[in-house]
């Protein structure tokens, strides 16, 4: 479903506007209780007609909320070979960053064991951003470390990829690092960053689109 306000979805069959709503008001006044109940049921039926969709017009697999509302970008081998990250950008400018499915960490046999946000100068999970103006949000460069993803044998630094204010990190990863395995592109996101428009344009140039990334990594 679209966050952006254009009607992408199929139009439902247009049923007539119930003009009889007015007539029903008059009927209500004159006729006994039973009729009132019937009218209420009729109204419900009318409403129901509006609600039931025309199945034939619906796609077998609809686009996901992310596909629909975000533009996907990829940063292959970011700062280090094998460090593939994604940047999903919403129409309002906010960027969700995380590990692409081709990230080296997923190739580790032992699987991901822990996620630690205490990197660099501060614990990223500790900051509190408040208010509409996003006070106290730390300003990070694209190569600033966000967290450390640990596997049995190795550890990987995940970075911002986008220069901007850090609004939020996915604290659930601390207790549930397995989220990275089940859905790195949704529940396993790493952080949300708010770049300034100018900064976004600069970084956008260095990122790949989904198509380009697929070609690069030879994905189907």
């Amino acid at each position: 479903m679209s966050d952006v306000m254009v009607d992408h979805t199929q139009k439902l069959e247009e049923t007539a506007v119930p003009n009889n709503l007015e007539q029903q008001d008059k009927q209500d006044e004159e006729q006994p209780q039973q009729s009132v109940q019937e009218n209420a049921e009729y109204e419900d039926e009318e409403l129901h007609k509006h609600l039931v969709p025309d199945i034939i017009q619906l796609p077998l697999i609809p686009p996901s909320a992310v596909e629909f509302n975000f533009a996907s970008y990829f940063a292959p081998d970011f700062m280090k070979p094998g460090n593939d990250q994604y940047v999903y950008r919403h129409a309002n400018g906010l960027c969700v960053v995380g590990l692409a499915s081709t990230h080296l960490a997923f190739k580790d046999k032992g699987g991901i064991t822990a996620v630690d946000f205490n990197v660099g100068k501060s614990d990223r999970s500790g900051m509190k951003v408040t208010g509409k103006r996003k006070k106290n949000a730390q300003h990070f460069e694209s190569n600033t470390a966000l967290c450390k993803v640990c596997t049995n044998g190795d550890s990987y630094i995940v970075r911002c990829c986008v220069k901007g204010s850090l609004l939020e990190v996915n604290e659930r990863l601390i207790k549930q690092p397995e989220l990275l395995h089940s859905s790195a592109d949704r529940e396993g996101y790493i952080a949300i960053i708010m770049p300034k428009p100018a900064d976004w344009l600069k970084v956008k140039a260095s990122l790949l689109s989904l198509e380009e990334f697929k070609k690069l990594r030879v994905l189907c």
Binding site: D7, N19, H50, L58, I61, P62, A65, L94, V96, E168
Partner: protein, 497 residues
């Protein structure tokens, strides 16, 4: 018997309507030639308190600045001298006609400069000094000063009632006479010290009244005369009544205070926003509920402007069906209050529009209590929705059952990413009161989800989970991926509308 223009007392210092002297002494019978007063007595009173020499042909009363002489400067700076209150009523009636107002009653308001009250108290204290011991004075002191406003209002009201063919009452239609004076404006700072500043004109939000001059001159309608005299007593003994060479400036104004129409609206389109929405000069969506309703009602009231208020809102791509959403339309300066029949016509017209984007129910004119009705429980009210949901695996009977068993389930929603750029990052607790799955015959993965939630719940995020930032979500409850394709509001529960 009215004092207008008559009985001007002349002293070597200044002029004053004998009427003004007498009304200050609380002469309630409006007869201005009391036997106890002689011309000479009045003159000597004035000698005590005045200090300027008089000049010219026509003189303005020092106390009322010519107001009760029906003299003033109009907006073209022309000096106007009316012969009787009838003439003033005529001017007002002309204005009402010119503005095209349909009048079912009127409320007359007069506002005068503050210094007039000060003059009155000056004169009174001057007389007090001289005649304090006199029995007739002591008797007079007990009655209230008859204010300039009351005299004027009383005089104009009757002829106005005749001319407008209606009665003076507590009406939304206001006729306002605003007297201001240059001198008062200059000295306003001095006068405002020690007085509490009052807000003026906030109820009706007038833009065309000269707000500056009104505030500076202090609407003194609500001060009872005695109180005012007590307040200004401090300065009155020292300040003489200045001679007045210029009359007041008068502005006539007639307007209707806001009228309200309320009702419930339905939105049948997924491409219509609730209010006018323009980004970078481009309109979002093809129309707005606000404009469709407002543009159809405004001309029937012949108003200047409208303001649309609704009890909550829905996204542009979400339809508003069923009971409809309560709204209030504020009409500014309506020239005509629509009748019940007219209102029914408007409702039919909107519901009969060809493009069928919006519908209206229970449209009616309502008083200012419409506000309280709207705000009542807006935050607590429950909303009912119907969502078209897709899940990544076939729907089982178990799912239908388990969903229907959840009652008053609490969820935690972080501010959705789609609004996070303009809202505070918070975690909000919301309640899902009940849910019901309605299977769709030809599909195993699509279904209709009917749900009733606490006001303020983000439904879309409750379905798809918003990167896991809404917990629980339909997806997490059913253990699979869930997406929402369409959303409709089916009920906004509000009893009073």
């Amino acid at each position: 018997m009215m004092p207008f223009g008559h009985c001007l007392i002349m002293s070597s210092r200044t002029f004053c309507l004998s009427g003004c002297v007498l009304r200050i002494l609380g002469t309630e019978d409006h007869i201005y030639c009391h036997s106890s007063f002689s011309q000479s007595m009045l003159c000597s009173v004035l000698e005590e308190v005045t200090s300027f020499k008089s000049e010219g042909d026509f003189q303005f009363c020092s106390v009322c600045s010519g107001i009760l002489q029906l003299s003033y400067r109009d907006d073209k700076e022309t000096l106007v001298k009316m012969k009787s209150p009838n003439d003033m009523a005529l001017v007002i009636a002309e204005l009402v006609k010119k503005e095209g107002h349909q009048v079912d009653g009127f409320s007359l308001e007069v506002s005068i400069p503050q210094f007039i009250l000060e003059n009155e108290s000056s004169l009174l204290s001057g007389m007090k000094k001289r005649y304090e011991s006199e029995p007739w004075f002591q008797e007079r002191l007990l009655s209230k000063c008859v204010s300039v406003k009351d005299v004027l209002k009383f005089a104009i009201t009757k002829p106005l009632e005749t001319l407008l063919d209606t009665k003076a009452s507590a009406s939304s239609f206001r006729i306002r006479l605003t007297y201001t004076h240059k001198m008062a404006l200059e000295n306003s700072v001095e006068r405002n010290q020690g007085f509490k500043r009052r807000k003026i004109g906030t109820e009706n939000g007038l833009q065309n009244v000269n707000d500056e001059s009104v505030v500076a001159n202090k609407d003194c309608s609500d001060y009872p005369a005695n109180e005012t005299i007590a307040v200004t007593g401090r300065s009155s003994l020292k300040v003489p009544i200045d001679k007045v060479s210029e009359p007041c400036h008068l502005v006539y104004l007639c307007y209707r205070t806001h009228i309200y129409l309320c009702g419930r609206y339905l939105k049948y389109s997924r491409n219509v926003s609730q209010t006018r929405w323009i980004i970078d000069e481009e309109r979002m969506g093809e129309a707005s509920v606000e404009e469709i309703i407002g543009s159809n009602i405004l001309p029937m009231c012949r108003g200047d402007n409208y303001k649309f208020h609704a009890a909550g809102r829905e996204d542009i791509d979400v339809r508003m069906l069923g009971s409809g959403r309560p709204f209030l339309l504020e009409i500014q300066n309506a020239r005509q209050v629509p009748s019940k029949e007219t209102v029914k016509e408007i409702e039919s017209k909107i519901n009969g529009l060809e493009n069928k984007l919006v519908g209206v129910k229970n449209l009616q004119v309502v008083g200012s209590q419409g506000w309280t009705l709207m705000r009542e429980g807006e935050a607590e009210k429950q909303k009912q929705y119907c969502a078209l949901v897709w899940i990544s695996r076939p729907l089982e009977d178990e799912d239908v059952c388990s969903i229907s068993l959840l009652h008053d389930m609490q969820i935690l929603q972080k501010t959705p990413i789609r609004v996070l750029h303009r809202r505070s990052p918070l975690e909000r607790e919301k309640i899902i009161h009940w849910m019901k799955i309605e299977r769709i015959a030809e599909s195993s993965q699509y279904f209709l989800l009917h749900l009733c939630t606490q006001a303020g719940t983000y439904i879309k995020e409750f379905v798809h989970g918003d990167f896991g930032r809404t917990q629980p979500s339909i997806g997490s409850i059913l253990g699979c991926r869930a997406e929402i394709l369409q959303l409709d509001v089916t009920d906004v529960k509000m009893d009073s509308f």
